[in-house]
Amino acid sequence: MNMLLSDDYLLQDYPENITNTIRSGHATMLRFDRKGDYLASGRVDGTVVVWDLETMGVARKLRGHNKGITFLSWSRCGRYLLSTCQGWKAILWDLQDGSRLREVRFRAPAYIAEIHPWNQFVTALFEEQPMLVDVSEPVDIKHILPSAPKRTNTNGDAALKEKQAKEDARQMTTSAIWTTTGDHILAGTNKGKLNIIDARTCEIIYTEKICSGVITTMRLTASGRDLLVNSQDRIIRTFRLPNLSVEDLDLDTLQVPLEHKFQDVVNKLSWNHVTFSATGEYVAASTYNNHELYVWERNHGSLVCMLKDPKEEQGVIEWHPSRALLAACGLETGRIYIWSVVSPQKWSALAPDFAEVEENVEYIEREDEFDIYAQEEIHRRRLDAEDEDVDVLTLDQPKAMGWENSFRMPVLFNLGESDSEDEFIAVSTGTMRRRSPGEGQGDDDGYERVPVKKVASKGGRSKKK
């Protein structure tokens, strides 16, 4: 609703400075929910913390893992959260009451576990076969997914077969995600191969070698048509993904065309983590052994800015699903940095009879401007003028209708401060406070000012390097 009043859409659509720093323990994994109201963070100690982005406060803490969280995934409705840890298990949480809905154990640490829109999730295990776990039944059904590439020449000679078998044995899936429709799984291997797996038959329908290194991260845009792949060969690639859910999918002509390659040819940086922006217009990446975040624009494939503020290397980054807001977690401190755009106060909003003008305007008074009428006359005229029809019930955007029947996370009062570490809370833009134990009220002591850097123009920012 604030869109009706604010000019924020005129602002640039990628973040430019840190507006908040939040911390609860040492965060290693971040994920926004689909609507963008909450941010889930996974900590090294196995706790999952759900942040409310409106208050920048903790909305829920989920304790159940005892090893570091490797991956988080929200269900479509925002009620369930799947967390995966190094401790060989994944937990599906119900955020309504914070209970463990399901707990699934594996035979190895899991890298990734992503929820399918309907009761399933896919996981990629360390040095093991990836799995599709169906939790719609009371007993989990685990389907092993293949990692070996699809071979076209099935009738080759024995030597070749042997060689291929050896190769296949070394293929391991390192990353696996669902397509947006949930019909297929995209899996990346340690040999740089992209496998498209049919979720019903659990068979690889398409394989292509897309890069030379290990595929570490794969992301899709909200539309599901663009694929972002980070690999250890220091190149970030975007691909156009064909629609895999069409009826007459022709496997022979299926192609996943490469769109862009993003890399830093000068510094030969490798990338910790990558993400698409809300619309897919930008690609952001955190750098290995370096403090910057890189943001590229996808139309031209050009670098638009480098975000550098915190004095530490950043690991997982996440772009907000609708706003120009980027969350990144620091590798050393485990703090979560929120990068965003600061919209300037419009001064004319404070006094409606003032307008901001570029240059002097000569005021020409109306003919009757200083005429004196009886108060009653003015009042009556005003009332007569109110003949417009008003509609106080119908919502402007029918899309927004869903807001009251969708899941709403209960507001908890008993979160407590059981963490041993201090929690930093942002009080307002650029202002933070260290929360002392037992302190309940907003006292002014303990504020820590974080200077908000004024960023000049986009050009100046990106040219600096």
Binding site: N2, D52, T55, S348, L350, A351, D353, D396, S428
Partner: protein
């Protein structure tokens, strides 16, 4: 909550405050006196309260001038006209007649607002006699002729809830429609069953009169704001303050939210229930993180007490209003002011709420008008008249019956008025329910509740005309009078379970 000018300085404005001084117990509503009255009375409310009040009043004037200085210095460069005006008033803030003269000076600066104001001021200063307008409505509802063609609100008195020992400043029906919470100048909040009217709980803990309450969207939490400058969060189920894992002086009960420098006057929960907005006499709007109980953002909102506050249905906007005549729309996430609405005559605004779809803002003005603002276009779309509101912060709301929206408001003559949103026509008038002023009306579907100066909460129910059976005014009248008597006699509300405890 205080509308009027002179009441703002001498006796701090509030309805309840005013009535404190006029010996509340002499005019007691008939069925009230319940055993626990003595209990309440035995609390040292009156004496110390009075002292506190006068101190507070002094402090308040300081606070006001202080914060106004800060405020206007910030915005002076752009505000021109306003800052001139407020700087003039600032110089007078030390004097008892401060706000009055301020008001006058303001009206003087506007060429159009001429003579009628002085007349109103005069009436305001003598309005202590509560029965002055009583004779105007000697004919009860019978005079109304119901229009059969479309759904018309037809609320009939059903219950009278007694228990409060001082005027009731606000009454709110829970979002699920099953509970009624009332806040009173006696420092307590009472929860009633909306269907039966039975008293469910009394929330005791505030050290001074409570002026506002708000229900969380899940109907399990009540926030209350009082003259002790604290906001408390209560658990509706247990009737105790909310509990936290954090240890405080009172065990693990949540400490009240403190931070405002003056009386809390209005509260609103965000639609998600995670943010609480409060408006205070210190002229600021605070946004609180409900979960952690901490202050999230403070907005230097107004140059007079903040009298009303509301969240829009998607939670992205907050609207606040003040007796300085301004209505401001804020962005919840950035804390920036997005729009300011001022009427040409600059009447004090005492309550404000968003329309159900969030596209309009309904403002209750102290010139006997309720105005519907289009906050995007910045103009008044409708003006509703027919009630009386010149002095107190009375409240009302939007309501919907069979998908037909209407507006309900309390009136200072003790009645309730309902309007059609589109043609501004008075749909129903329920005169003279409360002795003295009716402060607040809240509607939830078929249930309507009102709070009054006579210490009572009244509940009304929409009586549907079944088919075309009731055709003429006669049948209507009979039904009506039956309901009326039923309403008066019903309700020997039980009071046994009222306990007084210090939290």
């Amino acid at each position: 909550m205080t509308p009027g000018s002179e009441s703002r300085d001498a006796t701090p404005p509030l309805k309840r405050r005013r009535t404190d001084s006029e010996s509340p117990r002499t005019s007691k509503p008939q069925a009230t006196s319940a055993p626990e009255d003595d209990n309440t009375r035995s609390r040292p409310t009156d004496g110390p309260d009075d002292r506190g009040r006068s101190q507070d009043a002094g402090r308040r004037s300081r606070d006001l001038s202080g914060s106004r200085g800060r405020y206007s210095s910030r915005s002076r460069s752009r505000r021109g006209d306003y800052s001139r005006r407020s700087s003039r008033s600032r110089s007078q803030s030390g004097f008892p007649s401060r706000s009055r003269s301020r008001f006058d000076s303001r009206s003087g600066s506007r060429s159009r607002s001429g003579s009628p104001r002085s007349g109103r001021d005069a009436s305001r200063s003598r309005s202590r006699s509560s029965d002055r307008t009583r004779s105007e409505y000697s004919i009860p509802q019978a005079s109304q002729t119901p229009l059969p063609e479309k759904t018309r609100p037809n609320y009939k008195p059903k219950l009278v809830l007694h228990g409060h020992t001082k005027p009731v400043s606000q009454v709110r029906i829970s979002p699920n429609g099953s509970f009624i919470a009332s806040a009173s100048a006696d420092g307590t909040i009472r929860i009633w069953d909306a269907a039966t009217g039975s008293h469910m709980d009394t929330l005791v803990g505030h050290m001074a009169g409570v002026s506002c309450i708000a229900w969380s969207p899940d109907s399990n939490t009540i926030a209350s704001g009082a003259d002790d400058k604290a906001i408390r969060l209560w658990d509706r189920v247990t009737g105790r303050p909310k509990t936290t894992a954090r240890k405080s002086a009172a065990g693990n009960e949540m400490a009240p939210l403190r931070g405002h420098h003056n009386y809390i006057h209005c509260l609103a929960f965000s639609p998600k229930g995670n943010i609480l907005a409060s408006g205070s006499y210190d002229e600021a709007v605070f946004l609180w993180d409900v979960r952690a109980g901490r202050l999230m953002r403070s907005l230097p909102a107004h140059s007079d007490p903040v009298s009303g506050i509301d969240f829009c249905p998607d939670g992205t906007l907050v609207v606040s209003c003040s007796t300085d005549g301004l209505i401001r729309v804020w962005d919840t996430s950035t804390g920036q002011c997005l729009r300011t609405l001022v009427h040409e005559d600059n009447p004090a605004v005492t309550h404000v709420c968003f329309s159900p779809n969030g596209r309009f803002v309904l403002a209750f003005n102290l010139d006997n008008c309720i105005r519907l603002w289009d906050y995007v276009a910045g103009n008044v779309k409708k003006t509703y008249q027919g009630h009386k509101n010149e002095k107190f912060a009375i409240g009302g709301c939007f309501a919907v019956l069979d998908d037909v929206p209407f507006i309900a408001s309390a009136s200072e003559d003790g009645g309730i008025v309902l309007w059609d949103v589109k043609n501004k026509e008075v749909l129903q008038q329920i005169p003279k329910q409360h002795k003295g002023v009716c402060f607040w009306v809240d509607v939830h579907g078929d249930i309507m509740a009102s709070a009054g100066q006579d210490h009572s909460v009244r509940v009304y129910r929409h009586v549907r005309k079944n088919g075309g059976l009731v055709r003429d005014g006669v049948a209507e009248n009979q039904k009506l009078s039956g309901a009326e008597t039923g309403g008066e006699t019903a309700l020997p509300i039980r009071q046994e379970d009222v306990k007084m405890e210090d939290a």
